[in-house]
């Protein structure tokens, strides 16, 4: 008997009934609800920006928060589908958050060209703390969600996880912080998530090893 046959015998011997992984949509929706409720709670705790009602009439504000919310939702869905080795045949799904993110950056480039970039001085800003607070539970929850799957694309999975958290955190920060310049948003609202993404990306093969 060769090694493969022995292995098959051992694997067969070890087989136990398995609880099937729920449909990706059924796994992503609870994450979205929990993460959105959590971020809403943090926004409420930190205090909604005083000009929030006026900002709801501002097309730039609506466009960038809308885009990042869409990035977050589509990335969370992609992460849930990536838990299945063949993504249930919808590999194109990962293109959606990437396209939305590219649109967001193009939008930022246009806005900074018109209104200026306003690069802030680098210092420890309260937005860093707020970003970490907003990202903590959604990040922990998405890690819990994704680690129960079996992804064949660990790097894409880590990117999707980070984008889903970053998008939501960005929206939350836009609801609390009154600084609307692209420089501030890039430096203080996105940088904490970029760092989280870099760390998770570097460790992706280890984190999503199975």
């Amino acid at each position: 008997m060769n090694t493969t046959e022995t292995l098959i015998d051992n694997l067969t011997e070890e087989l136990k009934p398995r609880k099937k992984l729920a449909h990706p949509l059924a796994r992503a929706l609870p994450w979205m609800m929990v993460a959105m409720a959590y971020v809403a709670g943090i926004v409420n705790y930190l205090g909604v920006r005083p000009d929030f009602a006026a900002m709801l009439q501002d097309s730039i504000f609506l466009m960038d928060t809308g885009l990042m919310a869409a990035v977050s939702i589509s990335a969370a869905l992609s992460a849930a589908w990536l838990c299945v080795p063949d993504m249930r045949g919808v590999k194109w799904l990962v293109a959606v958050p990437f396209t939305l993110l590219a649109t967001f950056f193009a939008w930022c480039a246009i806005v900074s060209h018109v209104d200026g970039f306003s690069m802030p001085d680098m210092h420890w800003d309260h937005c860093f703390n707020d970003a970490m607070m907003m990202g903590f539970l959604p990040a922990a929850a998405i890690m819990f969600l994704t680690l129960r799957g079996a992804t064949t694309k660990p790097l894409t999975m880590s990117l999707m996880s980070v984008l889903s958290v970053a998008g939501l955190g960005y929206v939350g920060l836009r609801f609390t912080c009154m600084m609307d310049t692209i420089g501030h948003a890039g430096m203080y609202h996105l940088l904490p998530f970029v760092v989280f993404g870099a760390l998770l990306g570097a460790a992706a093969r280890f984190v999503y090893r199975w």
């Binding site: 060769n2 090694t3 493969t4 046959e5 022995t6 292995l7 098959i8 015998d9 051992n10 694997l11 067969t12 011997e13 070890e14 087989l15 136990k16 009934p17 398995r18 609880k19 099937k20 992984l21 449909h23 838990c83 299945v84 080795p85 063949d86 993504m87 249930r88 045949g89 799957g149 079996a150 064949t152 694309k153 199975w210």
Partner: protein, 187 residues
């Protein structure tokens, strides 16, 4: 899954789909049949693209272990082959990356006279303890520990599996591969 009210024979894909579904429910016979049928299929699918056909068995075994670990992610309403091939391609890429990262393609056999002259302390005694230790030293730490515990210290596969947090099958495969690697290295 094959509709029961038709008399047309089930295709191979439908049979595999059925077996995989039954295996998820704990049916060992269906599972054994599935693994036995997919093994040659996997080997046939990957062997043409490998620089060394001997690697195919290693990749097949890795893929089977991965199928075992991820069986809960298979959905009976989906075809089985795309799910299987996603795992196979992932494991093949993983195997090749590890192989080339460890400079496996640069390693030489001790039958190579030039290598013996320049690298081996005593070419006429290749295979002695020092050479074995050196060969073991070149292995990844986890693989070396499994081999040492099982083949040198005499622990059983189950004991090693408990200690290392691995499955018994993975321990046996790891020890077997290490033995093959040592044979290959020491000639």
């Amino acid at each position: 899954m094959k509709p029961s009210n038709t008399n047309t024979p089930a295709t191979q894909a439908e049979i595999w789909q059925d077996w995989a579904t039954q295996a998820q429910g704990g049916d060992k016979r269906a599972y054994a049949s599935l693994l036995k049928e997919v093994s040659p299929f996997i080997k046939g699918a990957i062997i043409g693209g490998l620089a060394n056909p001997d690697w195919a068995d290693d990749i097949v075994q890795e893929a089977l272990i991965s199928v075992h670990k991820s069986l809960h992610t298979y959905s009976p309403d989906r075809p089985f082959k795309p799910w299987l091939m996603a795992i196979v391609n992932f494991r093949r890429t993983d195997f090749l990356r590890k192989h080339y990262n460890s400079r496996g393609d640069k390693k030489t056999s001790l039958d190579n006279a030039d290598f013996l002259k320049s690298h081996v302390t005593n070419p006429t005694h290749s295979g002695e303890l020092k050479d074995v230790e050196r060969a073991l030293g070149g292995l990844p730490a986890k693989q070396r520990k499994v081999f040492e515990m099982m083949k040198i210290q005499g622990f059983s596969a189950k004991e090693v599996a408990n200690e290392m947090g691995m499955s018994v099958s993975a321990v046996k495969v790891s020890a077997h591969r290490t033995m093959n690697k040592l044979k290959e290295t020491l000639g």
